[in-house]
Amino acid sequence: MSASVSRLPSRALAIIGPKKRARSSDAEFDDEELLADCLRGQSQAMDLLYHRYKRRVYGLVTRIVGAGDSEEVVQEVFVRIYRGLAKFRGDSQLSTWIYRLAVNCSLSHIAKRKRRPECEEYQDQVAAEPVPVADPALSRRLEDALKLLPAGYRAVLVLHDIEGQSHEQCAEILGCRVGTSKSQLHKARARMRELLSSSLQPKVACATDQDNVEEG
């Protein structure tokens, strides 16, 4: 344990805070109006709905199920959105409802999918490769490491850290409590740290090896 007061590392001590997406009242109003137009069968409104949400849904689904199956799942999500709009009661935001459909379709798809030999090969390969030096393309390795997370961890990490949903929104989307969302995210990040530890600098020893005596 270091007894001296360390220099102030800006990254660790600066509170990042949750990534905030624009959820202004204007956006919510637009969604309400858009929903009403869709229910009236206006094809332009349905087109607009797709283009408003396509990147978010595609990004979420691709990062949960993988690129190979994402097109099929995204199509299913939007068909369910259009076919289910009349049943949307408005007790949550439209975006939350859409995310929930996307997550449920993705997790359902994973559950039904048979294990493909190439997936096993990929996992084995990552487990066996030697620790590389820091990889400047952290984003690429992060995307690859996502595939190795359990589906549940992947869903909460994508929703919170990539899509910028709050824990309250994650809990509503995933059908769990806020505390569960927080603990799942913490475990997901810990697992990602393990998978990417060779790419992150500097290296750090495991906490279990360093139980400091309480100060003060």
Binding site: S2, S6, Y58, F78, V79, S139, H186, L200, A207, E214
Partner: protein, 239 residues
């Protein structure tokens, strides 16, 4: 604060979810523990990298695929919705008719005064009760037979019409789906034939085969439900 305790709070700390006191305590620990400082720094780097990931642009083929799926679903609605409503009406009629006939048959078995009479006695009693009329009025057994025949006809016609509609969908099925649907339909067909043969062979019996008739009609209803769900696209293999 121990390192283990501080690291448990890393996610909440970096997301600004901690109460001010807890946040200050974590910060105090980080000022004095290089390892935890680095642990937090790595997690912060991960979180920043995740937040910076580029949004993915979906291919145009997805929108085309969505429109095609919705079009197919609406065609199914047009075909299946009207038919389902019509068939529900027919099925209710069939079910009510069949149930009423079965109940009447059971009553006949239990309480009919003719059960133990000789045929000549029955003829005498009818001629005494309603002179001139007994030759025109059908017996209960004849009425029952007519109603059962009517129920049979309703069921068989409904099934035939549904099978025609299901057959029109065949081109949309995969090979596995088609094989599974054909196998199920063949099973229904075999069961119905077997049950009808049983009823025919026992037609001369003094008591109606109530259970046999109930089994036959249950099979018809199961086949109708299967054909309806296949038309609706709810067949498990098609999900």
């Amino acid at each position: 604060m121990r390192c283990r305790d501080a690291q448990k709070l890393s996610s909440d700390y970096l997301d600004g979810e901690l109460e001010p006191d807890a946040s200050a305590a974590v910060r105090g620990h980080l000022r004095t523990c290089t390892d935890c400082e680095h642990y937090f720094a790595q997690e912060a780097e991960l979180v920043e990298a995740a937040a910076s990931l580029a949004s993915l642009e979906p291919p145009d083929s997805i929108w085309e695929g969505i429109q095609a799926r919705i079009a197919r679903a609406e065609v199914q609605d047009a075909r299946g919705g009207l038919l389902r409503r019509w068939l529900r009406r027919r099925t209710r009629t069939i079910a009510l008719t069949g149930a009423a006939v079965l109940v009447a048959a059971a009553v006949l078995v239990i309480v009919s005064p003719w059960k133990h009479q000789e045929p000549s006695q029955r003829a005498d009693s009818r001629s005494q009760e309603e002179p001139g009329k007994q030759s025109l009025q059908p017996t209960f057994a004849e009425e029952r037979a007519a109603q059962l025949a009517e129920s049979d006809r309703h069921y068989i016609e409904s099934i035939a019409e549904l099978r025609e509609l299901v057959e029109e969908d065949r081109s949309a099925w995969g090979a596995e789906e088609a094989a599974a649907i054909d196998a199920q339909l063949a099973s229904f067909h075999r069961n119905a034939i077997g049950q009808r043969l049983n009823l025919t062979s026992g037609a001369g019996a003094s008591e109606p085969d109530t259970m046999g008739r109930a089994t036959l009609y249950a099979g018809y209803r199961a086949e109708i439900a299967f054909l309806q769900s296949t038309l609706a696209g709810d067949f498990p293999e098609r999900r």
